[in-house]
Amino acid sequence: MRQLGSFPGGLVLDGQKSRSTQQPIRSVPLSKVLTLPLQQHIGAAAVPIVKVGDKVLKGQQIAKAEGHVSVCLHAPSSGHITAIDERPIPHPSGLSALCITIETDGKEQWTELTPIEDYKNSSDHELRQLIRDAGIVGLGGAGFPSFIKLNPSVHHHVDTLILNGVECEPYISCDDMLMRERAQGILDGIAIMRQATKANRCIIAIEDNKPIAINAMQTSLSTHTENGKIDIIVVPTRYPAGSEKQLIEVITNKQVPNGGLPIDIGIVMHNVGTAYAIARAINYGEPLISRIVTITGNEVKNAGNLEVLFGTPIKDCLTFCETQWQIANPIIQGGPMMGYPLANADLPITKTANCILVGVEQAAPAEQAMPCIRCGDCATACPVSLLPQQLYWHAKAKDLDKAVDYNLFDCIECGCCNYVCPSEIPLVQYFKFAKTETMNQQQERQKSDAARVRHDNRQTRQEMEKQEKALRQQQRKAALAASQTAKQAEEDKT
């Protein structure tokens, strides 16, 4: 067995996973109205190709990818389009964005699907195009268009394809349940990914707190055509082992160079859920129209994992799981470490919604944050080896240049520093703020630089015009004088 690496810091957290793994994956009853934000991925929003009033079928494309970093969007169920307008979306900013609203007809009538008979005959380019057309994004939570990460540039060769089934955040169990129940599908997807990336080797990484999932994957692999081509590696449970860069360090003992991408060291990483979605897209022709979402938390009586159509209102999922949600309980999308609060339960489930968390088991927070005593616990916990205590000092003083010097932009916002802080300082908030502020200032600086250049150019131009004008005037004067002298001379002659 290969020697595993490790990352500095990190936390051993109470997983709270068993809350949501007691029942198999269930489906939520079809909702009346599905609201689909046009941007459920990183990159440019998709562009609608339907009009209000159009009838759509389940799986029909309703918006097309715009530009390179973008993916298509499909109708999760049959019905007709009732609106294309700005609506609140689940996003930390709480802002609104363009959404397509579908009123479902309850018939769940599929559009004609075109599965690929044998993908082995397809080129890697064709496979990527199909994956893009199927609207597939990384289902781990970030939502980066998957086809791009399957697209090694001419300069790079994919050595290792890593499938991330670590799921290190507490409470979340959607990947766990997917591996338990749909191991075969995940492996089918990995086979396609291996062909698309031409990776030399392939690893599935799973945290050791998921023995059932590990067993299911191993059993399924032993009879799969991929047997012998994929290694399942069990990694120790330590948050944030599921973070891309940290997992790479654990598995390969290598670090992604600062400012670089995993592909720079020959690695490509995808979530196990993405692999499953790819299998459905290629082998069955089904676009990405649903995902597994963990509905859990203290206030959820009947917690578990649901297969949810995109656009389904979160409250329908919460009601299905018998959840008490009040104003005092923020509804959190994502895990308790990196998730963000949602404004209300009317927002839809999107491609990046891996978990809806209502009520977290935790000690009552202090009434106020105490000053930093520089104990350094945060630095010990930081998986990136930052010095959060120093970063905080500079961020608080708004000495942003200094904060950037202290590697502000290497912060992955995992929240470990925040968790261990004995003064309960909201460190991650400070760092997020400092990052946005720095980026704003950079933009401002660029703008003002551009404005200054414009101004300088204008002045030079005006100066030149003035000079030209003066020159012309002089020339005219001279000409006039010359003609006058000539006239005078004429008159004198006569």
Binding site: A364, R374, C421, V428
Partner: protein, 343 residues
């Protein structure tokens, strides 16, 4: 009151500043017991006096600075400063000495710099140095080790001496106090005595001074408890003790006739208190791991230099303050390599 956090992470650990301070105080118990056994109950009176004064001063300063009283009075930091200063002072020092020290520590060394977390210098050590420079006579009135002392200091005598500066035996306080082993070592080696002969004096035990060696051992036991509970980490104490041991070992090997052994230095005066309780004050210490090693080693080295070649018998307080000054520089040059940075 909102019971839920509004920003991620929604989970938090249970570690709080107050817990740090409570454990620190618990860890000081063996030291306090040892000091009481070997040097009489005076230290207990000093502690009570110092703690009460510290809390009152802290409250007044918080009021002046319009800061909430409850969180800052209950964080325990003022109490820790008070106890550390109280056990560093001679056990029968007059009440006003303690009072001046505490007020200076809390008002000047702590709050005028911005209060908890903002003071660049260790408040207890600032006060100690102020007192040592201003009142050298009172500050060197250490009682000889109790067993050597034919006068048994009871609780009431201690109270009387501390508050009236009158000894009930019609004796000057000077008569019942004596030089510490570190003092003796310093003056005697100055008189060309070899440490070997000096240590035959009845004030010395197997390792270092009678009583003092035990106090240091008991303090170290408290320090090990802090390490075990992860209230402090090993870097600073280890580096400081190693720094002190190394430099004293080297000089001792070169010239055993004129310098005391590493063991003597490790178990004398405030060595263990400094290593485990003073130098490890997080606010004023270096904060990077490498920086903490440099910081600790620097204190060990400076302590030795001041003890042997300086004008004062013990050098912990000066060494700590001098290294406090270097902390911003040390922290700046010892930043760890972040993930993905070039090796």
């Amino acid at each position: 009151m909102a019971l839920f956090k509004l920003t991620p992470p929604y989970l938090s650990g249970t570690n709080r500043i107050t817990d740090h301070m409570v454990q620190l105080l618990l860890a000081l118990l063996p030291a306090i017991i040892a000091l009481t056994i070997f040097f009489g109950p005076g230290v207990l009176i000093n502690i009570v006096l110092a703690v009460v004064l510290a809390l009152v001063t802290e409250a007044m300063m918080l009021k002046c600075r319009h800061r909430p009283l409850k969180p800052f009075l209950t964080d325990g930091s003022a109490i820790v400063t008070a106890v550390l200063l109280a056990i560093a002072l001679p056990p029968l020092s007059p009440w006003w000495l303690t009072a001046v020290g505490i007020i200076f520590a809390i008002v000047f060394a702590k709050h005028l710099y911005g209060g908890l977390g903002y003071n660049p210098f260790n408040p207890a050590m600032v006060a100690y140095v102020l007192l040592l420079i201003s009142f050298p006579v009172e500050m060197t009135r250490w009682l000889p080790f109790a067993e050597l002392n034919n006068i048994d200091i009871t609780f009431t005598t201690a109270v009387q001496i501390i508050f009236t500066e009158q000894s009930p035996y019609q004796l000057a306080v000077d008569a019942i106090s004596g030089a510490t082993p570190l003092d003796i070592m310093k003056t005697q080696t100055g008189l060309q005595q070899t440490p070997e002969i000096i240590q035959q004096n009845s004030a010395f035990g197997l390792l270092a001074g009678q009583g003092w060696q035990w106090v240091n051992i008991w303090v170290a036991i408290g320090g090990l408890f802090l390490l075990y509970r992860k209230v402090i980490n090993w870097h600073i104490p280890t580096a400081m003790l190693a720094g002190l041991a190394t430099v004293s070992l080297v000089t001792w090997l070169i010239s055993p006739a004129t310098t005391a052994s590493p063991l003597f230095h490790l178990f004398s005066g405030g060595t263990m208190l400094g290593a485990f309780f003073i130098a490890t004050d997080p606010v004023t210490a270096a904060t990077t791991l490498k920086g903490r090693l440099i910081y600790g080693a620097g204190i060990g080295l400076l302590t030795y230099i001041i003890r042997v070649w300086g004008g004062y018998p013990d050098g912990i307080a000066f060494a700590v303050l001098l290294m406090n000054m270097l902390v911003p520089l040390i922290d700046d040059v010892t930043q760890p390599r972040v993930y993905g940075a070039k090796r």
